[in-house]
Symmetry: C2
Subunit: 421 residues, 2 copies
């Protein structure tokens, strides 16, 4: 397999006098801004003086550039934080203490939110157009996947200062590719795919005494147009979905020397190609026990794959073109939502019988689902209802509705402790 | 298979006037005690005014009846909390917001600790002799497994008031059995084994308007002397180790109608029976990918079992009689410690090749290991050194030592978000 290794070393030395002065100025500015932000927003949010964050979550309100901080024990909204820019395709990771949320906006904005105080701690514009991020295993760095300019930027979680810049340059003309499917992996690594470059990159980030260094391994010929990626919950398998050809690209991180493997190469959009209304998403939570459940591109199917053999076990017929297929943490159910115009339907698949055991039709614009970490509830965002609906996974009954302005992604802070989420 | 269902309904109605008065008195007492405890201990602990608890942990100091609150980002000790009684075989679970730790002491003590303030919120003596506990999926109840009197008690997490009492009565003479291997399971269930009764019980806890009800299903003939249990991380399989005969008892919670299954029935202590110096422990984290790694009773072996077929795949020869065999969250390594007199050795097994890749000899009395949730570090308690040693799982190098008085169990707050831990 084609692969080559390039090491890029950045030297962000912090010892010079100028840097020290700048640092002081910077700290003062930050402190002042934080205090100002705190004084403006804290009282509005009415956060308890003492609180833990283990059962909190953050919900994207895509139209208003705001997020809601919620509590998944009391099933309530604690606070709305505003001023996050364009959140039309936003995602979130959490700091390792679960205090801070890092919000990756569509417009290249990167925002650090303090859940304890309900305020923005810092916000930067790190590119012109971005598509998700990840946090390193050691909790020191957040990486952002960018479309424009194509590449990945890496920032310190403390002050969002940039510590590395990895342009996704490919081919002989040195073009830059959109990057997609960015995840964290064990060994302080980030893995992502080059949509235009048809490559998968594996980046290791290392902290030195006064600098940060990255080393990048590139896997060429990953297949045409990888559009998203997932990593198994133990961080072993990275899988990129392909839009431009049949099959998926698999990287076994326990055996990078084996290079990429093509799986499900007979799976494609079929002879009767259907128009694709929305690209499906791949998420680490699509793996339940020994099976991966993958939304098929352009088909009304969820693919079931045995992760020991990477062979297709079954194609489950579903209502329409699936967007997310997410497994409950107890591996018992797969919840599936669909692309427009069928985004008013939610289906629940039994992970053992592969049968659809329930269908909901709670409203239009079902955009995301998030399970509580021990599996008892699932929160669903219904954009056109301006609502979050909470279901009991055992009884499949609705528990509660919460108001939210055009909600999309839902992210619980327990993700702080998971690989690849 | 023998199994019968009994439903016990408790009616802890809280509407009577007497109860209301008692409640008021109780609240005042609690408030006063909490304030007193806070005033005495808070300043001693110097906890930060604002803090999240996602990267905190609690370490048992078995001789002094104290615990340490630690931080696994800064690799530091934040606070010592004293006055927890006999902690010689103690374990801990966390509230769903990860703010509170519930410590189960050997002497039947149940102590609720507030990690934010570093104080005991409440402490009760709930039996004469206990052996571990669990917290329900909904986060409302902690259950404690008791030797004397044999059974399980269930308490409200809020005030540690008792909401159910399940005596482990078995056989025709209505004897009470020691209970062991208590874990939580999805569907707000607790599963445990009767050491003397040779049964496995499945208890469901339900909250009603003004009472709590439990229903118990008993699986008879579980095998002779189940000594501990584990549940797979998705909450599907409960496995009890047997001390009195060969094999292990398996309950598939997705198919309770199938009753118990005996697995590894050819596995026993062998013809040349070795004395057993310490009963091994079974923990949910012994399952890595498609294999379970189980410490063999009385043998110098770790058993590898395929969890799809429940067949033995391999017996790994290890240094001595294993006590814990724990898989790293990235499934890459199994760390094993040993019974006296070989409790100065720590071995690391590669989960793929089944080979021992490293042996440490850091001191005597290696009692427990705990991985950080994203697998980068492992903390090891070395009792006779009065030390905690932190290792990097990638380089297998020692990172730091922290002083601790005769440390045993180490528990990180991320357990709050895991099934069966």
């Amino acid at each position: 397999m084609d692969s080559r290794t390039i090491t890029i070393r950045t030297t962000w030395k912090t010892q010079s006098i100028i840097m020290k002065k700048l640092k002081l100025f910077f700290i003062l500015t930050i402190t002042f801004s934080t205090l100002l932000a705190a004084s403006l927003s804290f009282s509005a949010c009415k956060m308890p003086e003492k609180m833990a964050t283990g059962d909190l979550g953050v919900i994207i309100e895509r139209m208003d550039g705001s997020v809601l901080i919620v509590n998944n024990t009391s099933l309530s909204i604690l606070c709305r934080v505003k001023g996050l820019g364009d959140l039309s395709h936003a995602s979130i990771v959490f700091s390792r203490d679960a205090r801070f949320a890092f919000v990756f906006g569509r417009d290249g904005g990167l925002t650090k939110i303090d859940l304890l105080n309900g305020v923005i701690v810092k916000r930067i514009m790190q590119s012109g157009n971005s598509i998700g991020g990840a946090i390193s295993q050691d909790g020191r760095y957040v990486a952002v996947s960018n479309y424009e300019p194509g590449g990945v930027n890496i920032f310190s979680v403390d002050d969002l200062s940039k510590v590395a810049d990895i342009p996704a340059v490919y081919g002989e003309s040195n073009l830059r590719s959109k990057t997609v499917g960015l995840v964290d992996a064990p060994g302080n690594q980030f893995i992502f795919s080059l949509y235009d470059g048809n490559e998968i990159w594996q980046v290791q980030v290392e902290k030195n005494a006064d600098s940060v260094s990255t080393s990048t391994k590139k896997y060429l010929n990953a297949g045409k147009a990888p559009y998203d990626g997932l990593i198994s919950s133990n961080g072993r398998y990275y899988i990129a979905g392909l839009f431009g050809e049949d099959g998926l690209s698999l990287l076994d991180l326990w055996h990078p020397e084996k290079g990429l493997q093509r799986i499900l190469s007979h799976y494609g959009k079929g002879k009767k190609k259907l128009p694709v209304y929305k690209m499906p998403h791949l998420e680490g939570w699509a793996i339940a026990g020994k099976y991966a459940f993958l939304p098929a591109v352009g088909l009304h199917e969820v693919l079931v794959v045995d992760i020991n053999t990477w062979q297709e076990v079954k194609r489950i017929k579903v209502h329409s073109q699936p967007v997310f297929a997410m497994a409950s943490p107890d591996d018992r159910q797969i919840w599936v939502n669909f692309a427009f115009p069928d985004n008013n339907i939610l289906q629940v698949i039994d992970s053992e019988t592969f049968e659809i055991i329930k269908q909901f039709q709670p409203g239009k614009g079902i955009l995301h689902m998030e399970f509580t970490p021990r599996s008892e509830h699932v929160w669903v965002s219904v954009r056109d209802n301006d609502e979050i609906i909470i279901y009991d996974t055992k009884t499949l009954k609705e528990l509660k509705r919460l108001p939210a302005k055009k909600p999309s992604g839902i992210f619980f802070s327990s993700r702080a402790h998971r690989i690849g989420l």
